[in-house]
């Protein structure tokens, strides 16, 4: 039986790095108190063990998951890794340990604390990414569709397929401000790349008028006799409103190019995004 060791693992933040932590945990027959990122505050009184990322070890662990616990579990763990749940790394380790013991059945142990906590975190991620499929708003600059979001979870990988299938002939960019990443697409290629800032040009006349038309539609479609702002708020929490055209966020909509040359502008002026 592994013991809970008086140690905290530190990994490089990549999925491979996390898999190496799993490897380490089995190798040393120990369960760390936590698994943290390099920049985690160093106030802990426990010794920190640095786990180097080794692609060989990572591959071995990766291959063992579908083999011993099944593809569903692999998919589940990969999703869990995208969540904003603060202890996701430790819980993924605990989940995999359960999985190696119980096999594919672990996916049915919904009443178990570890499984339950992870399921909840993944549900939160799934819900958020589903909402963004609808709530994302693109502006069109120079034939390129551009959107900004501030998600809690790292949803871009989950939005990729949806938007690529929706706009196969377009060029588009979705900038995730929270994580400093962007999903970029041009006909039949996509990538998720780091972007530190995004500066948008002034909207042109067509863009302006479609925004206004949408606001006209949005304001007219309400049945005044059924006004129910609380219900709206439940279904579409306020944090999503910031980038939504219907709320005519002027600050956002009429933002000028103030900042430097970095980010999108550069990307936009290049013919190819890749």
């Amino acid at each position: 039986m592994p013991t809970t060791a008086n140690v905290v693992y530190q990994y490089d933040g990549s999925f491979d790095g996390l898999l190496c932590s799993v490897f380490e945990s089995y190798d040393k027959k120990e369960i760390p108190l936590d698994i943290v990122l390099p920049d985690a505050t160093q106030m802990m009184l426990v010794p920190i063990k640095n786990i180097p990322t080794d692609s060989g070890k990572a591959k071995r662990v990766l291959a063992s998951i579908p083999a011993k616990i099944g593809f569903l579990a692999l998919d589940f763990v990969q999703h869990a890794f995208l969540t904003c749940f603060t202890q996701k790394e430790l819980y993924i380790l605990l989940f995999l340990r359960l999985g190696y013991r119980h096999g594919a059945n672990v996916m049915e142990m919904l009443a178990d604390d570890v499984v339950h906590t992870m399921v909840k975190a993944v549900r939160h991620l799934d819900r958020e990414s589903h909402l963004f499929k609808g709530f994302i708003r693109f502006s069109i600059f120079n034939h390129i569709l551009v959107a900004e979001i501030e998600p809690k979870n790292y949803v871009l990988p989950l939005l990729l397929q949806h938007f690529c299938e929706r706009y196969p002939e377009e060029r588009f960019l979705i900038y995730d401000k929270t994580h400093g990443m962007a999903l970029v697409y041009q006909p039949y290629q996509s990538a998720i790349i780091p972007i530190d800032d995004l500066v948008l040009p002034e909207p042109d006349e067509a863009e302006e008028s479609y925004r206004e038309l949408w606001q006209v539609f949005y304001n007219t479609i309400e049945i005044k006799g059924r006004h129910n702002p609380k219900c709206r708020m439940n279904l579409m929490p306020k944090r999503y409103w910031k980038y939504m055209t219907e709320f005519g966020n002027t600050q956002y909509n009429h933002r000028k190019v103030l900042k430097g040359q970095d980010g999108l502008l550069k990307a936009l002026s290049h013919k190819e995004l890749f």
Partner: protein
């Protein structure tokens, strides 16, 4: 008139149609096209009345040759009129779609000139979208009653979903309020669409690439509260439409008074939102919970209980069905427990394969114990922390809002009298239960 003004008028005229879902079909775009559809449907926004906005919902035109009394577009109403050209509307749709404002188009129309002409205008709009813009997103088109069946058929080849609104749930009401329509003129095209869907599904078996006819099926809508039709009538009709016409959805719309007319509720009548809500709950029970209409309402109880939802109401009338052992009960029985929904029932069935469930674990599976505890046992036991004498069963079954309304409406004595309203012939007479309810109602007054 510019597009802004047209959009305003034609949105305003379309907004009483409730259907806005984009669900029921999964589609991917082939190369060179634009648009996809997800079977679960995607909400793109919510209007300030809390309703989902998924589709650009507008009328082709609000000019109408007919004079349905309940409708804002009726011929005799003095209101500004407008009409989109097919090109204008197609452009608007595609530009909204590219910006991810919408999932597609919901196109309906008043009867301009005659049903055939109107239908042709709609077809042209859809043709531009599908053929010129190669648009593969969701389109819901309203069939215009009285249009030639060849035109209805053409419209159906371009749309994902079609609907014909029944609007008034009985022939009497139709005669009174929609003199230009009849049950026949509504049900005939509905039957026609159903048959075409069926034929088409056979074609699809034979030829894999046969074009699809309304792949997301057809739906309809009924207005609630404009006429004296009862909940029972409406629910029976709904069930019949699912069974006989294979409809995908039936929508309900609380009547919003738009005109002073001696046949209609007065203009200051509040829309019966709670009735609409109960009907949707019951509709859900028909579609996903295996209930039949006659289990929920009957000749003695023609209206829904205003204080508890139809599922709780059923449970209170069938106490002999409970308590139920969650570790053994079949899925279909679990669905009948108040506080257990489709998701939590599925999770129960999955999780109990691995372990024997306790009340604690049920919470993790998303069961609303506050409601469910009265109706279930775990490992042969009732919830330990729950003492029946201290609990207010009925209170727990009412929603927060209803409870407040209930308190406001009735003084203490009336409240006790009012119990007859629940009319609960408890088959197994656990006396404490009746007493409990009385007590809890007294307490909260």
């Amino acid at each position: 008139m510019d597009v802004f003004e047209k959009l305003k008028i034609l949105t305003d005229a379309a907004k009483y149609d409730v259907a806005c879902t984009s669900s029921g079909v999964n589609k991917k775009t082939p190369k060179g096209g634009i648009g996809s559809a997800a079977a679960c449907g995607i909400c793109h926004s919510f209007s300030a009345d809390g309703r989902c906005i998924s589709l650009l919902k507008v009328l082709m035109t609000n000019v109408c040759a007919y004079d349905c009394k309940y409708c804002v577009n009726r011929h005799s109403n003095d209101t500004p009129r407008a009409a989109f050209t097919p090109r204008e509307l197609a452009d608007l749709t595609i530009n909204f779609y590219r910006r991810n404002y919408i999932e597609g188009l919901f196109l309906s129309s008043g009867v301009l000139k005659n049903p055939d002409y109107t239908c042709e205008q709609m077809i042209e709009t859809l043709r531009i979208l599908r053929e010129e813009y190669r648009f593969f997103g969701y389109i819901h088109a309203k069939a215009i009653p009285g249009a030639d069946s060849a035109l209805v058929s053409r419209l159906g080849m371009l749309a994902d979903r079609m609907s014909i609104n029944i609007e008034l749930p009985s022939q009497d009401s139709l005669n009174l309020l929609a003199p230009d329509k009849s049950k026949h003129s509504i049900l005939t095209p509905m039957r026609y669409i159903q048959n075409r869907i069926q034929e088409n599904s056979m074609d699809l078996v034979k030829y894999k690439h046969a074009p699809k006819f309304v792949p997301a099926g057809q739906s309809t809508q009924m207005i609630i509260g404009a006429t004296p039709d009862t909940d029972l009538q409406i629910l029976n009709l709904t069930e019949g439409l699912y069974k006989k016409y294979k409809l995908k959805r039936v929508f309900f719309s609380a009547y919003m008074p738009v005109i002073e007319n001696s046949f209609l509720p007065t203009i200051d009548t509040e829309p019966p939102l709670w009735r609409e809500h109960r009907l949707y709950q019951a509709d859900w029970l028909l579609r996903f919970y295996g209930f039949a209409a006659n289990e929920l309402l009957d000749e003695q109880n023609q209206s829904f209980n205003p204080y508890v939802d139809p599922k709780c109401n059923w449970a209170l009338h069938h106490l002999d069905f409970f308590p139920m052992d969650v570790n053994r009960a079949p899925y279909s029985d679990l669905l009948r427990v108040p506080g257990i929904g489709v998701n939590s029932a599925k999770r129960i069935v999955t999780a109990r394969r691995m372990t024997t469930l306790s009340f604690e674990s049920l919470k993790k599976l998303g069961v609303v114990l506050k409601r469910a505890q009265y109706f279930i046992t775990c490992k042969g036991k009732k919830n330990e922390s729950f003492k029946i004498t201290e609990n207010a069963i009925l209170q727990s079954l009412m929603s927060e809002k209803t409870r407040k309304e209930y308190q406001m409406k009735f003084s203490q004595r009336e409240a006790i009298d009012q119990l007859s309203l629940f009319d609960m012939p408890f088959k197994v007479q656990p006396n404490f239960l009746q007493e409990d309810i009385v007590k809890c109602l007294q307490q909260q007054m």
